[in-house]
């Protein structure tokens, strides 16, 4: 109902727009009343049946169209300036006044990325974090946001040097809390960005990672794990496996966790991380240990690099993407339940499609050694030793820690008479394995472990000794094996 009843829609045009109001959209705040210098506006005494409020009433006869009431009304569709002759009918349906089309923004479209051939290059000799940084560049990442923390900083330092040479952006954030939110913004804009951090810094990023998962934004986080808890030390540990697999901030959150074990994998898995992050619109975590960050080795470069496109869902700040919005809030319970079902479905798809692992002499293995990151290298050496001593040992190395590569493990468990977990940490990889095995409904053979903490890595001879003890052999004195 039109309430401009004093002269109403048929009032003569005064040359200036006059306030027009659909009473349903008036919240009766009355801010327009003192704004009017001619006292044209009063509160109605009639209660509007739809809103339960008493909307204001405008006296169009006295109104001179000064417009001050319009800029006093806080509602977008409250008092609206209209020319008198525009109003020639009584309105009931807002769609008639405002139209049925909700936005003029176009439908966003995907701009696909491309793969470009790289020149043929000799293998490089790279530190682990540097290999990862170069992997990021080859994966099309031109934006880095981070905060310095040992032992991850060399990766950031290299990107600080290289990105500007490629007209990319390096931002040293005020904190890890800020860094992850810059990644949220850059990922939200549809671009590839990453950070290098280490355990205490990663803890600070968890809030933002939960938001990214909720808002379905991509971004790559390299956690070069160090000794903890607390400030701990700067030596290598694997004590954040629980955090990256089970504790990515609040809520129903998961992310693919990739665990490299050589400088070569630091590059390869960083490139993969970007691909997976955009494929699933979800952060991807690279979990390395402090050793891997520091170790220098030979790295073969890929034959192709990535020139990223721009995904349809991005909020890029251009016409094509105007329709989009990024949020992790869903106020209505049913909406949030639906969103969680969608996320769970995504996690299930990831669990089916993205399990990755490597094996070494597992075909006939009776003793299965399970390790990831640097400890897997020691474990591999131990397998070689043990084989030389006639023990059928094999190494199962998870490359994805989440999802745990249970599909690869199950057939090996059929033959295994024992499992030996090797960890530079308190058994968090073992927990992941036990959980996955439990979900699979399979019985584990006897499990033993070699665990070191605080930055001490399990050494090959310790693995040898534990394996010999498990298999009922006595440990012979260490001879000329690899050191």
């Amino acid at each position: 109902m039109v309430t401009n009843d004093n002269g109403g829609p048929k009032a003569k045009a005064a040359g200036k727009p006059k306030p027009y109001l659909l009473p349903e959209f008036c919240k009766a705040c009355a801010r327009c009343i003192p704004a009017c210098p001619r006292d044209c506006i009063t509160m109605s005494t009639e209660i509007n049946p739809l809103t339960g409020r008493t909307p204001v009433v405008v006296d169009w006869e006295r109104c001179n169209g000064c417009g001050l009431c319009l800029s006093a009304c806080p509602e977008p569709y409250g008092l609206t300036g209209v020319m008198a002759d525009e109003i020639e009918f009584e309105l009931v349906d807002p769609k008639v006044l405002f139209g049925d089309k909700h936005t003029t923004a176009p439908e966003p479209v995907d701009i696909p990325g491309t793969r470009l051939d790289m020149p043929e290059l000799e293998p490089m000799i790279l530190k682990g974090t540097h290999a990862s940084a170069i992997g990021a560049i080859l994966a099309g990442c031109r934006h880095f946001y981070g905060y310095p923390i040992t032992p991850s900083t060399e990766g950031a330092e290299l990107l600080a040097r290289l990105l500007p040479e490629l007209d990319g952006v390096f931002v040293q954030a005020v904190s890890e809390v800020a860094a992850v939110n810059m990644i949220y913004g850059c990922g939200g804009a549809g671009l590839r960005s990453m950070t290098f951090t280490s355990s205490p810094g990663f803890s600070l990023m968890l809030e933002g990672i939960s938001y990214m998962i909720g808002a379905e934004l991509p971004g790559v986080f390299f956690n070069v794990m160090r000794g903890g808890p607390g400030l701990g030390n700067i030596a290598p540990e694997q004590a954040d496996i629980k955090l990256v697999c089970r504790g990515l901030g609040h809520g129903n959150s998961h992310a693919i966790v990739l665990a490299p074990s050589t400088p070569q994998e630091m590059l390869d898995l960083t490139m993969l991380a970007f691909e997976l992050s955009f494929k699933y619109r979800n952060p991807v975590v690279l979990a390395g240990d402090g050793y891997l960050g520091q170790v220098t080795g030979r790295v073969t470069l890929p034959r192709q690099m990535v020139k990223p496109g721009l995904p349809a869902w991005a909020v890029h700040g251009d016409a094509v993407h105007r329709k989009n919005f990024i949020t992790s809030i869903a106020l209505i319970e049913q909406d949030l339940e639906k969103h969680n079902e969608h996320l769970l479905d995504k996690y299930a798809r990831i669990s089916r499609a993205e399990q990755r692992f490597a094996t070494y002499k597992c075909d006939d293995a009776e003793l299965l050694i399970v390790a990831c990151n640097t400890p897997a290298r020691m474990a591999k050496g131990a397998v070689r030793d043990l084989r030389a001593r006639g023990i059928r040992a094999g190494l199962f190395r998870p490359i994805t820690l989440w999802p745990f590569p249970i599909d690869g493990l199950l057939p090996l468990l059929e033959k295994a008479r024992g499992v030996l977990m090797v960890e530079a940490g308190p058994g968090q990889l073992e927990d992941e394995l036990r959980l996955a095995v439990s979900h699979a409904g399979v019985r584990l053979p006897p499990v033993s472990h070699v665990r070191r903490y605080g930055g001490v890595l399990p050494q090959q001879h310790e693995i040898d000794e534990a394996a010999l003890a498990m298999t009922g052999h006595t440990a012979p004195a260490l001879t000329g094996g690899a050191s």
């Binding site: 009766a28 800029s71 509602e75 807002p94 904190s175 671009l191 016409a319 105007r322 989009n324």
Partner: protein, 476 residues
């Protein structure tokens, strides 16, 4: 009105009245500010380029209303999210819209950094002296004595004084324009509208960061009518939060990030890639040291150059076609602490990169030799700096001890720093892990941009070789 959605589909699915009404309480200042923002976006013709960042607080749902690119940020983090958006697309017009809890409490670090960086972005700071969404608790801008749910007897002195953000921000070099406005009468609303327009325009012109603080009404939690709330802002807030322009600097357009390159040739060059295959000088794997995995430990103090020669030998080994790793280990000090390096050279794949039991140890000082000497495998070689270790410990007759006066030789050559190269020369001669030329060619490559140092280093290497040979002969 085109910058507002014609129907608020994101507001409870746009059904019923919610399709055209905001979620704000009657008389709330947010509605006005968002109206002025929408008008300015329209006037400047930047609807397509705008990315509006909603905070946590009552304006969390700003994206219900504004038909622009929208991003909702975590509490207080909007300035960081804004930096992400602006650096991703410098052409985007990024507006961070934040309340007093968001900007002046939990997000202080983020707003400080954004202002310090000064990238052209627009910050609208809505100061209503109270927490709205969580139900009327104390804000950093709550007035002394003001009753809130967490200051039930009025804001006590122990909680300090209201934080004046516009003045704080104006002190920082980054922003070009800072103003505090209000909404309590037509004149103030007009100023606010102009300020928002200007703040956006300065971004469009790439001149810098703008910050507009707006004193707004929260009638619900002030427990006042909207019109009384206007009066309250005018009477109570103004004495603490004086209105006006706090900073207005003329700055030439400066913001230009360039377009990231994805040219493979350029990238290959930037990452230091080369198609030039390195020359090989060695024959087979140094099986006289170990059949497939040689472990060498270097140990000294920071500054001894252990890491440098460890890296050199790693690079030489990889050039010779083997797998090799180098892993450093430092004390907590950046300079002057302990500095150890473990190197492995393997014919197949280096497994454990650590050297708990090396075949070769190079020790630069007594503690290093004492610590690692006993870990050397039987049949192994220890090279130590006899200038600083005159009395080496007895490691038994299965260890070959080669004392080389690395420091003294380097001093003679005029640079103590070169002692690591003396040690490397000694290592080459004593172990013959690779031919000398393998090291020297790598040295030339490493020093290609610092030729002045090459001669000295080559001389040091040679003197180390000679000293080691003399020692070995003496031992025989």
């Amino acid at each position: 009105m085109s910058v507002f959605f014609e129907n608020f589909d994101r507001h409870a699915h746009g059904e019923g009245l919610k399709g055209h009404s905001t979620h704000y309480c009657a008389g709330c200042g947010h509605g006005l500010i968002q109206k002025f923002l929408a008008e300015a976006i329209e006037e400047l013709g930047i609807q397509d380029r705008t990315v509006a960042i909603s905070p946590v607080g009552c304006s969390v749902f700003m994206y219900y209303y504004l038909d622009v690119g929208n991003t909702q940020a975590a509490h207080g983090r909007a300035p960081a999210v804004a930096i992400g958006h602006k650096t991703a697309n410098p052409n985007a017009i990024v507006v961070s819209y934040q309340g007093d809890g968001d900007l002046a409490s939990i997000g202080l670090a983020e707003i400080m950094q954004a202002c310090q960086m000064g990238m052209p972005m627009t910050f609208l700071f809505v100061n209503n002296a109270i927490y709205g969404m969580t139900g009327g608790q104390m804000a950093p801008t709550t007035l002394p004595g003001q009753k809130t749910m967490t200051t039930p007897k009025g804001r006590p002195p122990i909680t300090g004084q209201p934080l004046r953000m516009a003045e704080i921000v104006a002190q920082i070099d980054g922003p070009v324009y800072v103003e505090r406005c209000a909404l309590f009468d037509a004149k103030q609303r007009n100023r606010t509208k102009k300020a928002i327009h200007k703040a956006l325009q300065l971004q469009v012109e790439n001149r810098g960061l703008s910050f507009v603080e707006i004193l707004a009404e929260c009638p619900t939690h002030l427990k006042l009518s909207p019109v009384e709330a206007e009066q309250w802002v005018k009477d109570k807030m103004l004495p603490f939060f004086p209105l006006g322009v706090k900073k207005d600097e003329v700055r030439e357009p400066w913001f230009n990030l360039g377009t990231p390159s994805f040219d493979p040739q350029r990238i290959a060059s930037v990452i230091g890639g080369t198609d030039h295959a390195p020359e090989r000088f060695g024959g087979g794997f140094p099986t006289h040291l170990h059949e497939h995995d040689v472990a060498i430990k270097f140990a000294g103090a920071g500054g001894d150059g252990a890491q440098t020669i460890a890296m050199l030998i790693t690079k030489a080994a990889i050039n010779e076609g083997w797998d090799s790793t180098h892993i450093p280990s430092y004390g907590p000090e950046s300079r002057g602490g302990t500095s150890y390096a473990d190197v492995h050279i393997a014919d197949g794949e280096v497994l454990s990169p650590a050297c708990p039991h090396p075949q070769v140890l190079v020790a630069f000082n007594p503690p290093s030799l004492e610590k690692f000497g006993p870990t050397v495998r039987p049949g192994g070689i220890v090279i130590y700096d006899s200038s600083v270790i005159p009395q080496p410990p007895d490691l038994g007759d299965r260890i070959t001890m080669i004392g080389v006066p690395c420091t003294a030789i380097a001093q003679e050559l005029g640079k103590v720093m070169a002692k690591n190269m003396v040690a490397l020369g000694a290592l080459q001669a004593a172990t013959n892990v690779f031919p000398a030329e393998s090291f020297l060619s790598m040295l030339r490559k490493v020093l290609q941009n610092n030729c002045a140092m090459l001669e000295l280093n080559e001389a040091a290497f040679e003197r180390g070789q000679q000293a080691a040979v003399r020692q070995s002969q003496a031992a025989v």
